[in-house]
Symmetry: C2
Subunit: 558 residues, 2 copies
């Protein structure tokens, strides 16, 4: 049998990982890969509304599955996706970004062609897309087999995007050499460590933990990126060490695990006692690299001195002044589990509690009565997607029921991410519903994706909290302004207009209406879209007191 | 009186050009400029749905007014706008892209903050945004006055975007020095030429024209970018030289000007005789730099040898082997007009004709009966915005009534551009309606901007040609594929769902319905949105024969 074409081989080799969707927008330079996706029976094309949305959807899919494919065209397409891909780079999400480029028959003749500066120069945009990737390749029939192996290896090793250029004619030519059949992602050893370094590092960590009075673990979301969620649970159970999560790492461990001391966010921790528990630990094991970013720390109000932290990064470990290199997260965890002894937990904690059920049927909907009901609606297998905004502050502080996943994009924080990301999450999440909570300010950036959702009907429930303003920006702004006002969209009418058939749609203004539609959603199997009216004035938790701290750092001294 | 803050001074100095809108999305790092825009009484904030849309809207505004302002935030915002800004770079549209950056109080402390890689490193994205601009600056109180002058000068000189970074705290501090009050854009000398070179170049051009048997002019859209449309008309009238336009340059001269020989597009010219007229000219005066790009030449089917072309570029002129440098378009045109003599036009031409009015009331709508009616609907002062796609092929070939403007983005060709661009065009066009024609494939990328339009109610008429597929890609593809199918959106329901009040909205499936809604639109003053059903099979003009030529160049030889 003849070898597959470069484009088909690429599609097949990526699908070997277990990826079953390709998110993207077709384009004439990308036809060879677009065609290949249709030809590859294990991949389904998801025609997103635009490239940014497609990159967010791929991001969401990769967060749940482990990797994803994005397909765009040269110049216009790839640049539209750049913000989304940069988010994947920042948040350590391996997405294979396949970009169709002009045929070499065109580029070798230096023909003037569309999607260029009109100067016969090609390759003007490669460095831009490369800036959002950890590895890149331009495929030819001769290099495709080896380059694709390199690209897959590097992307999975670094948990970051890969940028793969397929010139249109190269894509149609059979690969030269012997095609490789790859393994599913879960079977792949993603990082290769130096065993002696791992062993010494694990000894160093265990020694320090044993010498400490009240050690505590802060595990990071990077563990989930490397598929190590179960291994983390094994380690926590084997050692009985207490642990906290920062909002950025929420969803990594069940929140009514007996060792869980709460959501740590400096002065805005939940429950508030968590701050003291975490900051009074004499040793903190940072597993994966917690990000002490402004929104993740109550605006840098956390207080953890580096001297009492053990840092287990993706490729190195530091205990005190000792640093081991060429380690690997998975192998360090294995070694720690092998050496584990039970610690007596020395901390007392106010366990996180379900939110009190406030409000009665006739009350107007607001944050106080919405979130407790959302919390009770969630069930095992669901994944909650939290858009960046005031809702993320509420959701980060809300106890998740066991077995409920959680995705947010706190560090990159690109508003609009949540809506398309929830499509990708839903397509990867075969175990339950995907529940998106977004504000109208964020939703408007990307809600053209609703039409796409109507075509594919994912298992998705969308709550749009409509307060008519950019709530988070109004909170952060020192003055409060007209530019934070939003267009007055009738969100609940959007799914029907965009062609969604048999969706549950509703606009709710009272607690009774909210409860009624939640009950319908819980009994039905169809996608749902609920516009929840929220008063503009109360959208942010008052206790945050962000405004004052933000003001001081962001503006000149008085 | 105290000096204005850096951000307010920037806003004022840009508004001195006559710009009266700022397109953008607010963001916390951008608050100092966002605040300044609200404070500056001559500027109005236009809160776009997202940054890509905002960049397209700024692009549209700048095409009509001459310049525009885009405001986005650090990282996430500016990167989302990059494709739109790259289109402005390619198509020579000066947009001032103002990006709010983290406060220097944050960056000097290397604090970990959102919209970064979480590494305390800042400036990671500057080079990306710079790649879509001809000039850039990071403003401080000390440099703001001089840097802003430099940036304005360079952007207007090159007719390309400027990238201006305003760190949040710098933006709030008064500028140091003496603020400058600038002139309106029309009063600014944009390029500074060497007079002796201009004089010699003009002599060279006139000499060559006089020596030719049947010279012909191809003026380029770059003349409009430099505000030289009237000067071009003066030159054409003063010399009586015949001229053609490529589709990319459509809208530059009235199409029933007696010297106009038709739309030149190689083998796809309109009328077809135009190809022979243009290609049989023994001398062609290329005024501004016509772009012989694939879609502008019927897939490189034009045949103009460089030897018989005079090239008047923005900064140099070439006649035969003689090249003059440091010229300027405006001054070359002045010199040519001063030296002009009347030429006897030696070409005969089939003048472009209004399209024949095909179809009767009961007929289903299609391209054959839509475009003639659109043509008759247009009137003096209107600007037609042609989205990239099959509609652009039809519109490029359609004779424009006198005084009707035309905007398209043929070279960069980013689908989705038309919808937000038409908002920007409408806000700059005070003389009539803006009429957008787009296909559903393009519209879906950016139609979340409809909600924004509903808020500002521009003088805008939108025709969405719904054929259910990416028509242009189906045309260009060698196979015809599932990935070109689109979500089945009920487009005519979108404006109401997105909060547009008192708009004329309709879905038309017959000629009678089309005529009825066009008549309502012509009698009313409200924005209108018409979904026109078009059969998928006939969306592209058959005579293009693009498929065969595209196939040969884009795919491997059989």
């Amino acid at each position: 049998m003849a070898n597959p074409s470069v484009a088909l081989y690429l599609a097949q080799r990526l699908s070997d990982l277990g990826i079953d969707r390709v998110f993207g927008v077709p384009g004439d330079y990308a036809f060879s890969f677009d065609d290949a996706v249709e030809e590859c029976t294990s991949l389904k094309w998801v025609a997103c509304a635009n490239e940014l949305n497609a990159s967010y959807a791929a991001d969401g899919y990769a967060r749940r599955f482990g990797a994803a494919i994005l397909s765009t065209t040269y110049g216009v397409g790839e640049l539209s996706a750049l913000n989304g891909m940069m988010g994947c780079y920042t948040e350590r999400v391996p997405v294979f970004h396949v970009v169709g480029a002009p045929s070499r028959r065109i580029t070798h003749q230096k023909l003037i062609t569309h999607h260029t500066h009109g100067d016969g120069v090609f390759g003007n945009f490669e460095h831009l897309s490369q800036s959002a990737s950890c590895v890149s390749a331009v495929l030819t029939p001769a290099n495709a087999i080896s380059e694709i192996e390199r690209v897959i290896h590097e992307a999975l090793k670094n948990a970051r995007p890969a940028y793969i250029v397929v010139p249109m004619d190269s894509g149609k030519i059979p690969v030269i050499g012997t095609p490789i059949k790859g393994a599913p992602i879960a079977k792949i050893q993603r990082q290769i460590a130096v065993p002696s370094e791992v062993e010494a590092a694990a000894d160093g960590i265990m020694g320090a933990l044993k010498a400490a009075k009240n050690p505590l673990v802060l595990p990071s979301m990077l563990l989930q990126r490397y598929g190590l969620k179960e291994k983390l649970a094994d380690f926590l159970n084997a050692t009985n060490l207490p642990f906290a999560l920062t909002p950025m790492d929420k969803g990594l461990v069940n929140e009514n695990h007996s060792g869980f001391v709460g959501m740590y966010k400096g002065g805005s921790s939940t429950p508030p006692s968590t701050q003291d528990i975490v900051e009074s630990a004499d040793l903190i094991l940072d597993l994966g690299g917690v990000v002490f970013e402004d929104l993740n720390t109550g605006l840098w109000s956390s207080n953890l001195t580096p001297e009492r932290m053990i840092k287990v990064s993706d490729t190195w470990v530091q205990v005190g002044h000792k640093v081991w290199i060429d380690t690997a997260l998975s192998e360090v965890l294995d070694a720690l589990i092998a050496k584990a002894t039970k610690f007596a937990s020395k901390v007392k904690t106010d366990q996180m509690q379900p939110l009190a059920l406030k409000g009665v049927a006739a009350d107007a909907t607001n944050s106080e009565n919405f979130y407790p009901r959302l919390q009770r609606m969630l069930r095992q297998g669901d994944v909650l997607v939290a858009e960046t905004g005031t809702c993320m502050i509420h959701l980060g502080a809300m106890q998740l029921p066991d077995g409920v996943g959680y995705e947010s994009q706190m560090l990159w924080g690109s508003i609009g991410w949540g809506t398309p990301a929830s499509l990708g999450v839903a397509m990867a999440n075969k175990e339950g519903r995907t529940v998106l909570v977004t504000g109208d300010g964020s939703h408007q950036l990307t809600y053209n994706e609703i039409g796409v959702m109507g075509r594919y009907n994912p298992n998705l429930v969308i709550f749009v909290l409509n307060n008519g303003i950019y709530g988070i920006e109004d909170v952060l702004s020192e003055m409060g302004h007209e530019y934070d006002d939003l267009a007055q969209v009738d969100y609940h009418k959007v799914p029907e207009a965009m062609g969604c058939k048999n969706w549950i749609t509703a606009k709710v203004t009272t607690v009774g209406e909210l409860e009624a539609v939640m009950s319908r959603i819980n009994q039905a199997n169809s996608p749902a879209y609920v516009e929840v009216m929220i008063p503009a004035a109360e959208s942010a938790p008052k206790s945050e007191d962000i405004k004052d701290r933000a003001y001081k750092l962001r503006t000149p001294a008085a």
